[in-house]
């Protein structure tokens, strides 16, 4: 029974399972990028035939990365990592950090990575004393077992670098834990705030839930700047937080510069024209000489005076071809195809004439809304911790090696016999050089 359990335990911690999970997760992730994620059922039904749609839908392929089986695979990876880490830690502790075997085990001098045997004419105690000093300067202070006419010395450095791989593995567990915490206690969503207005409603992603913040977010101003070539330069929302009649915080929110308040983070995500934006256009019917100042909103059809004709405006340009601000008008005249034309301000050439009408842009009141991403992620410290651990692990692995040197010195007649054994967890050239130096200084060749 114990044996069976042990087999299962080792199976869960095996590299075989890890490799299998790596490839499986890779293949499933490929599927998740080939099949578009998170569209509406109608969109999917227009892409896939009903049969295919039903199968993909059954296996949650449309939200693959959050499906129960993908989560299971990641959970299995976590179990694999945990078991493997425990096995590894116990082995590292047993073999390297607190080895049971004594340093006077003669087998060491036959079976280790580097082995050398020398004879010297010099006396035992002279060689022994010098070896201690050399080991201390090359590796570290040696421990020793001194007997009658023999001495065993052992020096090592960097044994904790063996933990590098454990750090890397544990870091992944931290990151997964962070993700789990975020999934349980965190949320993210979006909110829209029109310039000059306040809101406390966050639309949570992945559902139709609306969350009340418990305080108000006011958008004092929104600006978008462009470079000369038309590439956006900066999106900026000037935001105030209002809570119980007070204003604890005002800040400018920009992309890459989020705002933090009460454990929530606010990010500049998107923007647009608010529906309350309007423009004033002066219209004159040249036939009837009727005139009117129209107040129009984007994409709304407005009747024109004295005729069965409508106008809508579709686009605003701050400067159209060097002629100043302009709006794109669309004229719907009964029985004729619709026509598009630009409406300018006074002084920018003649008033725009189209059909029986002339149009002049008088004013344009633009109100933006800013689209903020709001998130609460209590798992973030774990994720950062994971990032830190993986760095520590890599540094231990890359820049440190566990070097061990055993020396056995025996009296042999007048002279001395010296056996050296050594091993390194990394590239061996460094250690080889040290060993050469050791034997050279001891006068051994």
């Amino acid at each position: 029974m114990i044996n069976k359990l042990s087999i299962i335990y080792r199976g869960f911690g095996s590299a075989k399972l890890a490799i299998f999970l790596f490839f499986t997760l890779a293949v499933m992730s490929i599927v998740g990028t080939v099949v578009l994620q998170g569209l509406s059922p109608e969109q999917y039904q227009s892409i896939y035939r009903p049969g295919v749609y039903a199968i993909l839908d059954f296996f949650d392929i449309f939200d693959l990365f959050h499906s129960w089986w993908f989560t299971m695979l990641i959970g299995l990876l976590a179990v694999n990592l945990m078991v493997c880490t425990i096995i590894q830690l116990r082995r590292i502790y047993r073999v390297y950090l607190s080895p049971k075997g004594g340093i006077n085990d003669d087998a060491i001098f036959r079976s280790t990575q580097f082995n050398a045997f020398f004879q010297s004419d010099r006396g035992f105690s002279e060689i022994e004393g010098q070896t201690r000093i050399l080991l201390k300067s090359l590796i570290g202070r040696p421990s020793s077992i001194v007997g009658d006419g023999s001495s065993y010395l052992f020096a090592e450095k960097g044994k904790y670098s063996r933990l590098g791989v454990v750090f890397v593995h544990v870091s992944v567990l931290f990151i997964l834990a962070g993700g789990l915490i975020a999934a349980i206690w965190g949320f993210d969503g979006t909110m829209k705030v029109v310039e000059g207005e306040t809101s406390n409603r966050v639309y949570l992603s992945g559902g139709k839930h609306v969350l009340g913040l418990g305080f108000d977010v006011r958008c004092d101003d929104f600006t978008v700047d462009f470079y000369a070539g038309g590439v956006p330069k900066e999106y900026r929302s000037d935001i105030s937080i209002l809570e119980r009649g007070r204003k604890p915080l005002s800040a400018s929110l920009r992309v890459n510069h989020p705002l933090r308040y009460r454990g929530l983070k606010f990010y500049q995500a998107t923007y647009g024209l608010a529906p309350k934006s309007y423009m004033l256009v002066d219209v004159k019917n040249r036939k009837t000489d009727e005139g009117e100042l129209l107040k129009m909103r984007m994409m709304e059809k407005t009747p024109l005076p004295g005729a069965d004709t409508h106008i809508a405006v579709g686009e605003f340009k701050p400067d159209y071809q060097g002629r100043g601000p302009a709006v794109l008008g669309v004229l719907f005249e009964k029985g004729k195809p619709h026509r598009m034309f630009w409406i300018f301000q006074d002084g920018a050439g003649n008033a725009s004439a189209e059909g029986d009408f002339t149009f002049t842009l008088k004013d344009f009141k633009r109100y933006y809304y800013t689209g903020l991403r709001v998130s609460k992620n209590p798992g973030m410290p774990f994720v950062w911790g994971g990032f830190l651990l993986v760095l520590i692990g890599f540094i231990l692995n890359l820049f440190f090696a566990h070097e061990r040197v055993w020396v056995r010195i025996r009296e042999a007649g007048k002279g001395t016999e010296i056996s050296i054994a050594a091993s390194s967890s990394k590239r061996s050239e460094v250690l080889e050089k040290k060993l050469q130096k050791l034997s050279r200084k001891l006068g051994l060749e």
Partner: protein, 272 residues
């Protein structure tokens, strides 16, 4: 101005071409002078290449839109090519091989030729859009492309491992296996740094450190494949043909992460 950075880069393209050419001469005729010439050309090439990148950096400040030249497709290709030569010259300190020299200088040449001679890559200095205005830009791009460069070299050595015996050129097969492994472990560390810096940046710019965006997902796929490679080698002791195939598979994932995601899929990471 006649002397601009794109002009210098097109000169570097030819330098890398001649480096590859001299490595070929070295391999065929076994003349030491060709090996030395090729290496000299690579040192010359990477020096001029570095100057071109620095020059472009300075120029962007003169245009009033100063930023590190790591922000669009052209700049990424130029830096990718630079990274490959850089990694090769680092590798040279421990492993010497004319065959790897050919692979590295040929890759660097092809990439630069596409960037600067094909005329299909927009090479103007462009201003940074808001999402790219971040201190993470340099660390994220540099670690990612150094990783790609390591994987490019390991891809080359895996190919040599597979076809080497057939063309009777690469006798010591373990040597190629060894370089492949060294390059992949270095690339894996760098890719991990690239993903971490990318995640930290995404957290600041997009409000989440991970969102299964195609670029993120494909970087994870690449990471998983090379992670499997390292486990297979270090724990299971796999060697030889199987490892070469995983390495080649990994590099295909790298290429898809770099280009395929942007040209075939679409997502937030729209600037390559």
């Amino acid at each position: 101005m006649i002397l601009n950075d794109t002009y210098i880069v097109s000169v570097v393209t030819f330098i890398y071409f001649f480096a590859a050419f001299f490595y070929l001469i070295f391999l065929v005729l076994r003349r030491e002078f060709a090996d030395h010439t090729a290496l000299l050309l690579l040192y010359l090439g990477i020096t001029v290449h570095t100057v071109a990148i620095a020059f472009r950096w300075i120029q962007s400040y003169q245009l009033g839109i100063g930023h590190a030249p790591l922000s669009n497709f052209y700049e990424s290709l130029v830096f990718f090519s630079w990274s490959i030569i850089f990694i090769y010259l680092l590798l040279l300190r421990h492993y010497k091989s004319g065959l790897v020299g050919i692979v590295a200088s040929f890759f660097a040449f092809i990439i630069l030729a596409y960037a600067s001679l094909s005329g299909r890559v927009e090479d103007h200095i462009q201003p940074l859009m808001p999402a790219l205005q971040s201190n993470w830009l340099i660390s994220h791009v540099v670690s990612s492309f150094l990783a790609y460069a390591c994987f490019a070299v390991s891809f080359g050595t895996s190919i040599i491992y597979l076809v080497g015996p057939k063309i009777r050129m690469a006798a010591r097969r373990e040597f190629w296996d060894e370089i492949t492994y060294k390059m992949i472990s270095m690339g894996f560390v760098l890719l991990t740094l690239g993903i971490i810096t990318g995640a930290a940046w995404a957290d600041r710019a997009w409000g989440r450190y991970w969102g299964w965006d195609p670029k993120e997902t494909w970087s994870l796929i690449t990471w998983l494949i090379y992670g499997a490679f390292l486990h297979a080698r270090l724990v299971r002791g796999w060697k030889g043909v199987r490892m070469s195939l995983i390495s080649i598979l990994g590099f295909l994932a790298v290429i898809f992460t770099y280009l395929g995601v942007n040209y075939i899929l679409s997502g937030l990471h729209s600037y390559l």
